[in-house]
Symmetry: C2
Subunit: 242 residues, 2 copies
DNA sequence: ACCGGGCCGTAACGGTTCGTAACGACATGT
DNA sequence: ACATGTCGTTACGAACCGTTACGGCCCGGT
């Protein structure tokens, strides 16, 4: 009962394949003339960079999905975000000699490496580049703040619902289906990002499925009732915590 | 028992007075020649700007303390930070027509208003200004990430201890005492920032005082054992949660 | 002086989430 | 085939924190 309909394997394959195509520019077409960009491929689990390594470049995700993890000196670890096609990675280390976090590929991924020193000088020549970089940094701050709001004010269930809607939205912006996609991260990563435990994520996903809002099996996710999910985030349901 | 020693009122007055002096530049000396900066004063409780208002300027805090609050469409509210002397306020709205959060003065405060449009063009003329702005944005991201790590991995007690140490550190950087200062925000604001309830903050502060780590009465804070607090953050104590 | 509201502290209770454990599915390698 | 490891799910007990309630303190207003 409640299993993904037959034939889904093919669909899933198509979804994944979709994210592997379209390796054209992501808005950096003009940049190619001004920067020595190189392409870099990563296998699942491979580090794009580690905390402490010298900071030399920013990276623009072309294909795949990566997670950035903040680390503390005493071993704590917190996933601070999942980076997908079009996201700029590494901005948190700008202005420092070394990187401040780990970035790990969750998928087979591909990024454009944008050396930072050339980029800085290009900012003086290429009109609008500086503004775009600034805008990207500001946008990053807004994303972080938005999640601080969610993590600070929502309970576990609403956090998960909010996370799923955000994933769906990002997929939609990339031209993929918002109601059927593959989770590129495991339960533990989701839990870390949402400041929960992976068992709690499992429990919540099960509950959301029982209510008919989603259909999830392993990494395959179907959003059955986006409106209901949104209601869940906004607390129309019993919505206990906080 | 456990009250602040007699004569404290005078000390407190001195601490507050200290934060009201020294209204000289905060590293923006050169900027004065290139930007039409104006000074703006705020009374306690007054908004510097509100969510939705047109975004026109950044603000550099000179005196006092402000809080920035992220707001959700359904009424939730989250304090995302406390801004003190030397902090640049408003960066989260860069590149947007309107502000995305509320900023409220907790103290009698004073800020320099730096109109953003002139600042953008100044970036093209003033060498290093662009790099400084970029650095500030990156630093803001690092602060947010650092708190995501704390909120995601620490329990209530360790969050509060971490918060107090952060306050102490910022006071020290400004040349004030790190072991004796005035809390410019009330318990509810602290609680919101730490994703807790104000009762929990109260309880934790009481417990920390029982252990002899701090001495707190209303808004006056003394750090008696900074090393012990650091141990508390790092989980040397029973440190239950998570 | 009296009152009222905001802020703060304490306590008891209840609920959400945690932490542990056990189990199953699946992939990989021997 | 079997062992091994990772991942996901579920159950159960316990800890933590939110909730609620009450009372004290301070300050401004009447």
């Amino acid at each position: 009962m409640n299993t993904i309909p037959a034939g889904t394997a093919h669909t899933a394959a198509k979804v994944v394949a979709g994210s592997l195509e379209r390796r054209d520019d992501i808005g950096l077409g003009e940049l190619r003339d001004h920067l020595p960009m190189t392409r870099r491929r990563l296998r699942p689990g491979q580090h794009l960079y580690r905390s402490g390594q010298p900071f030399t470049a920013l990276f623009l995700v072309n294909v795949g999905c990566l997670k950035s993890c903040e680390l503390s000196d005493d071993g704590r670890e917190q996933v601070t975000g999942f980076r997908m096609r079009g996201d700029l990675v590494g901005v948190e280390s700008i202005g420092l000699p070394g990187c401040t976090c780990d970035v790990v590929a969750l998928d087979a991924s591909e990024v454009w490496e944008l050396p930072y020193a050339p980029m800085l000088s290009a900012c003086l020549r290429v009109p609008g580049l500086q503004a775009r970089l600034t805008w990207t940094l500001a946008e990053e701050i807004r994303r972080d703040r938005s999640w601080m709001l969610a993590l600070g004010t929502l309970g576990a269930e609403r956090r998960v619902a909010s996370f799923l809607l955000d994933l769906a939205d990002r997929h939609a912006r990339l031209g993929f289906s918002a109601s059927h996609f593959i989770l590129r991260m495991n339960r533990t990563d989701i839990a870390s990002f949402l400041a929960l435990k992976h068992e709690t994520v499992s429990r919540v996903l099960s509950r959301l499925q029982e209510r008919g809002l989603i259909l999830v099996e392993r990494r395959e996710m179907r959003i059955l009732d986006a409106h209901g999910l949104r209601d869940c985030v906004n607390g129309d349901e019993p919505a206990t915590m906080h």
